[in-house]
């Protein structure tokens, strides 16, 4: 059952009016504000207004040592805090040329991929919530709770992990952690089948998603949309493949892509990515080496050498880049955080034009934004 993408051309009759959505609106994912110009229920112009959760991460980075920035890193995007936290560690390791022990590499991949799954599950839930389906939201939260439990048992936090340290991780994992992860993956696969029956096959959901909010390859290219939103447009770009970091090149995984670039494609890409993350975790567990979790030789102070550095990693939402400029002291001279949602959201005014009001919710929900990540 495939629908042709729906063509909605804005009619020219009738008065325009302005509708302000947010910053407090149930489906603005926190504090996004959309100023919409509407004709009837059709959107003529959409202007996202951001900055309502601007917390000055970049200014803080210039005011504290690189090590002290660690807790900030997981709060940039709290839904995939582990990926950001480890990504930041990896960036500093790259700059300081610190070798990470094998065991830590594997632990990091397991933790990051578990976190990616939890992020996608939360997206799944809130997306359905935006479309009015409340029950799938709670089911996905159940599953997510299990990931949080697993990660909690080794990191000690549920959401804003500060698990990574320059060179490794803070705490070694035990066999119970690995067993629980394996068991969870097994459970998740059955749950995904359930989600398929409850949600993916659902005719209402398909009608709401197919052909809605098409981001073409060209648009994605001009706005540098990355992550699942880009892969849904048919570009197999994943930083884990393009610029392998943190040991991802040792494992076998695919980059799922879809061709249509609509909300349904983004939906499918994320569901398929969950499966790939499961595969990665399984491989990392199967080949888990023994050894240290922190390197034997570590610099006493983490001084960022003079010069500029760029490090990219793949967060649950796309290409997360850290651009750091050092001046020889342990406080970075400058740190720019290139966050994926920022670019993804900037493509919204173009994507939303001509859609219905209800589609706005589906599209904005479908690209998966996290406001503090955009506002930093």
């Amino acid at each position: 059952m495939t629908n042709p993408p729906r063509e909605l051309s804005p009619s020219t009759e009738g008065e325009l009016y302005t509708l302000n959505m947010g910053p407090q609106h149930p489906s603005m994912h926190g504090v996004l504000r959309l100023v919409l110009q509407l004709r009837g229920e059709q959107i003529v112009n959409a202007k996202p207004v951001i900055g309502y959760s601007h917390r000055a991460h970049e200014k803080m980075a210039e005011n504290r040592s690189a090590l002290q920035f660690l807790p900030n890193s997981s709060r940039i995007d709290y839904l995939s805090g582990m990926i950001y936290n480890l990504g930041y560690c990896q960036a500093v390791e790259k700059i300081l040329q610190i070798e990470v022990p094998d065991r830590a590499v594997h632990i990091r991949i397991i933790a990051a991929e578990l976190n990616r799954i939890s992020s996608h599950l939360l997206w799944f839930g809130t997306f359905l919530l935006d479309l009015g389906g409340i029950t799938p939201f709670l089911y996905s939260f159940d599953d997510r709770e299990q990931i949080l439990d697993i990660l909690d048992s080794v990191t000690g936090s549920r959401l804003t992990y500060c698990y990574g340290r320059f060179g490794g991780v803070t705490r070694d994992v035990d066999d119970e952690f690995l067993e629980r992860s394996t068991a969870f993956i097994k459970l998740l696969r059955t749950r995904l089948l359930m989600y398929k029956r409850l949600v993916t096959d659902n005719v209402i959901l398909r009608e709401r998603c197919i052909g809605v909010g098409v981001i073409s390859k060209d648009t994605a290219f001009r706005f540098d949309v990355t992550g699942p939103s880009l892969r849904a447009s048919g570009v197999a770009y994943d930083v884990r493949k393009a610029e392998p970091y943190g040991g991802y090149d040792r494992f076998d995984f695919e980059v799922p892509t879809e061709e249509d670039g609509d909300t349904m494609s983004r939906f499918h890409v994320r569901i398929r990515e969950i499966e790939q993350s499961c595969r990665l975790i399984e491989q990392a567990i199967a080949s888990m080496p023994e050894g240290d979790i922190l390197p034997k030789k570590m610099p006493k102070r983490f001084q960022i050498p003079k010069g500029e550095f760029y490090f990219a990693c793949e967060s649950a939402r796309g290409h997360f880049g850290i651009y750091m400029v050092g001046d020889g002291s342990d406080i970075p001279f400058k740190m720019k955080l290139r966050t994926p949602s920022f670019s993804n959201l900037s493509a919204m005014p173009e994507t939303l034009r001509g859609t219905m009001l209800a589609d706005t919710i589906a599209i904005v929900g479908g690209i998966d934004i996290v406001m503090p990540e955009i506002d930093r």
């Binding site: 009016y17 229920e41 479309l131 009015g132 709670l138 089911y139 009608e207 009001l357 209800a358 589609d359």
Partner: protein, 343 residues
């Protein structure tokens, strides 16, 4: 069909009490009391059903099994500050909750809960119920227009379009039943009399859902839309329109909308029971028990549907009505008429 049916007339409250001036307030009292309890229970049930579907417990701490939860909610809503926003259309804004509230209370009186008793026996009962149901949309529109809020207005506009559209298949499917009733029940009583519709089914031992399955399904879907229940809860679409037409209402005024929503659910379910499920008809248990059992079972299905599906988009909702429900119900009506005239 069978022509041996004698005249059937249940006792109304006026006949029971004898004095119409006494009967009126009594009926009002009975209805208000029953409806209040009903709404309290339904809200509790809704929260429990949703909780169970979501593998939660729902309210458990206030009273046994959380039964007093909605009572606490009501107490709170009563004592809440009533905010009157600036720049509203005052008469409309203040009248709207009452307008939503009054018709649903009126409509309840017409339903025959058992073979022998009905509060109000009216030969045009079915029409009256639909007419009162149609007034709900006016209330919603008044609320949306009077609130001076764009979300409320959008909700109201959606609601008008939706309710007017879905009234067509709703009435058409009911009409098929009326045709059958008139064909089966003889000409002595009107096919629009609710007691009579139910009585014919119990008398003939055939529920009309068996004769009119398509009409029953169309009725149920349209009824969901008429009561603004998910997946047709477009007028209050929480994730789109904040709270839709009642965005600007607080405290008691908001609870009146709440009250009318849940009473509306009861009304459409009771109507479905009368039209398709044989009214009070059933073995062993007394009539009223069967009647309410069936009604609440239908309400449970409505809740079950609500907690399963995502919401339709507004234009899809209209497309669905005009391309699926209305053609099917017209076809069904024609087929019914044809069958009756042939037999």
């Amino acid at each position: 069909m069978s022509q041996s049916i004698t005249d059937y007339a249940p006792q109304t409250i006026t006949e029971l009490v004898g004095n119409p001036w006494l009967a009126m307030p009594m009926a009002a009292g009975i209805i208000m009391g029953a409806l209040t309890v009903n709404v309290l229970m339904l809200v509790w049930a809704e929260r429990k059903v949703s909780a169970w579907i979501q593998r939660r417990m729902g309210p458990t701490e206030v009273g046994p099994y959380g039964l007093l939860q909605t009572l606490a909610d009501m107490l709170k809503l009563i004592s809440k500050q009533l905010i009157t926003p600036a720049n509203i259309d005052k008469p409309l804004y203040h009248l709207a909750p009452l307008m939503a509230f009054a018709p649903v209370v009126g409509a309840v009186a017409l339903f025959p809960v058992s073979r022998d008793y009905v509060l109000l026996d009216n030969d045009l009962g079915l029409l009256f119920v639909f007419a009162l149901g149609g007034m709900a949309v006016i209330a919603i529109f008044m609320a949306g227009w009077g609130s001076n809020n764009k979300y409320a207005l959008l909700g109201a506009v959606r609601s008008v379009a939706q309710n007017i559209s879905y009234e067509i298949p709703l009435i058409l499917s009911a009409l098929s039943v009326v045709l059958v009733v008139n064909a089966m029940g003889g000409s002595t009583a009107s096919g629009l009399n609710l007691s009579h519709i139910a009585w014919v089914q119990s008398h003939e031992h055939v529920w009309f859902i068996l004769l009119q399955p398509l009409a029953a399904i169309i009725y149920f879907i349209s009824a969901l839309a008429e009561t603004n229940r998910a997946p047709f809860d477009i007028p209050e679409a929480e994730s789109e329109l904040v709270a839709g037409f009642h965005t600007e209402y607080s405290g008691m005024r908001f609870s009146l909308f709440f009250f009318s929503e849940y009473t509306n659910m009861l009304i459409v379910s009771m109507l479905a029971v009368v039209l398709f499920l044989g009214g009070w008809d059933g073995p062993l248990l007394p009539g009223p028990a069967w009647f309410f059992l069936k009604s609440y079972a239908l309400i449970f299905v409505m809740m079950w549907v609500r907690w399963t599906f995502p919401r339709l988009r507004f234009d899809q909702l209209m497309t669905f009505c005009w391309t699926v429900l209305i053609p099917l119900s017209i076809l069904n009506l024609l087929a019914t008429a044809l069958a009756i005239s042939v037999l």
